[in-house]
């Protein structure tokens, strides 16, 4: 792993390398280098399996984080490759040509975050949400509670409590 990381640092200028747990390394790379890096890992380093692609909305810094988890089934190593893309022009190079099933992850991310993957098969078709025409729901600027209240006829009489406070009041009514 050490060698590999060194190699990657030379070749792809990866940074922020951290050991998250045993046999699993987190690293960050420029978004434009992701396909080359993944292809290198797949072809030469034995990371044959794309485990998943996921996304995080860093609204504070105006960026989306995309995480690609790849796995080497022989050595049982995992790599988590993080890349940051701009929130305004949310678009990323598709890697469906490396792993066919990547298109499904990308389709889901497109639906949930609105990150576009041009060229990815069926990327515009609805995945979980049918007929969604609002802000992509996993973006943090989407207010799901407000949406729910506007759309789904909330039943009146519902009370929301802080569970800790509520249970404390129920169980230990005497304590202050």
């Amino acid at each position: 792993m050490e060698n590999l990381i060194n190699k990657l640092q030379d070749m792809f200028a990866v940074k922020d390398v951290q050991d998250s747990k045993k046999n699993q390394i987190l690293l960050t790379v420029k978004a434009s280098k992701v396909p080359a890096l993944l292809s290198f890992l797949k072809e030469f380093e034995g990371f044959k399996v794309l485990v998943m692609i996921s996304s995080v909305d860093w609204i504070e810094i105006g960026k989306f984080q995309l995480s690609y988890i790849v796995n080497d089934p022989d050595k049982k190593n995992d790599l988590i490759i993080r890349a940051f893309i701009s929130r305004k022009e949310a678009s990323m190079i598709s890697i469906h040509s490396l792993w066919g099933h990547a298109s499904t992850f990308q389709r889901e991310i497109k639906e949930m975050y609105g990150i576009d993957f041009p060229g990815s098969p069926r990327v515009d078709e609805p995945f979980l949400l049918e007929g969604w025409d609002d802000t992509p729901p996993m973006r943090r600027d989407f207010d799901t509670k407000k949406y729910s209240e506007e759309t789904f006829f909330p039943r009146p009489g519902r009370e929301s409590n802080d569970p800790a406070e509520y249970m404390k009041k129920r169980l230990y009514p005497d304590e202050k």
């Binding site: 979980l128 049918e130 729910s148 759309t151």
Partner: protein, 229 residues
């Protein structure tokens, strides 16, 4: 998209949620004639549902008894509650002895159990299945999610109140209710039927427009006829 659709001359429409196969298109007949097809009009019966009035009181009482003692449940699991149904039929709970049986087709079923949270996507299928059941038909709603959204109360994709979309006969609270609770629900339902109060099907017809409006508010890609015969 299949070859079949590719050959057709599909019209572009404003409604972006209308599925390609449901858009108006033209096909060429064997004699070369052009045939205009409007799938939602042509493939489906577009009549409004009719209320079926109960018959003569004594007869109806007898029939209601039969209906109550023979509850055929549509095997449709919508949420996590569907895992609670199989134990009902196991030797421990043995719902058969109450005349409950599972059917695989809505045509032959008289009860639909909404077993837990309903995503919008599932709601659409539930509505279609419910409308395809025959009058009289009954709805049992399981779990908090169907009552007020439960733990999904603020979800962008899960409905909060089932009774805005379907006429519910029995609610079973809990997350999740145990099989005993469901048996109790059946008992309650039987009572309601025998008393002649379980007229959900007719109620649905009478408040049809209201139900439809509620349903269409959440289901944006409607893509089916207003009433699924």
């Amino acid at each position: 998209m299949t070859e079949e659709l590719k050959d057709n001359n599909i019209e572009q429409v404003e409604d972006k949620f209308l599925a390609p196969e449901n858009r108006k298109h033209t096909v060429t007949g064997p004699e070369g004639e052009i045939i205009h097809v409007d799938p939602l009009q042509d493939y489906y019966c577009n009549e409004r549902p009719k209320a079926e009035d109960p018959r003569n009181k004594i007869v109806e009482k007898f029939l209601n008894w039969a209906r109550a003692e023979s509850l055929w449940v549509l095997g449709f699991g919508t949420g996590c509650g569907s895992i609670e149904i199989p134990p009902l039929l196991s030797p421990r709970f043995d719902a058969y002895r109450f005349g409950v049986a599972m059917r695989a087709t809505p045509r032959q079923s008289s009860v639909i159990i909404i077993s837990g949270y309903l995503a919008v996507k599932t709601l659409k299928r539930v509505i279609r299945s419910y409308e395809q059941m025959q009058n009289p038909k009954f709805v049992i709603a399981l779990g908090s999610c169907t009552i007020n959204g439960g733990m999904y109360w603020d979800s962008y994709n899960t409905i909060n109140r089932l009774d805005y979309y379907l006429p519910v006969d029995v609610y079973v609270a809990g997350c999740m209710p145990r099989p005993e609770a469901i048996l109790a629900a059946f008992d309650k339902l039987k009572t309601r039927i025998k008393e002649g109060r379980a007229e959900g099907a007719n109620e649905y017809v009478e408040k049809f427009d209201w139900y439809k409006a509620n349903q269409k508010k959440v289901i944006k890609n409607w893509n089916m006829p207003d009433y699924n015969w």
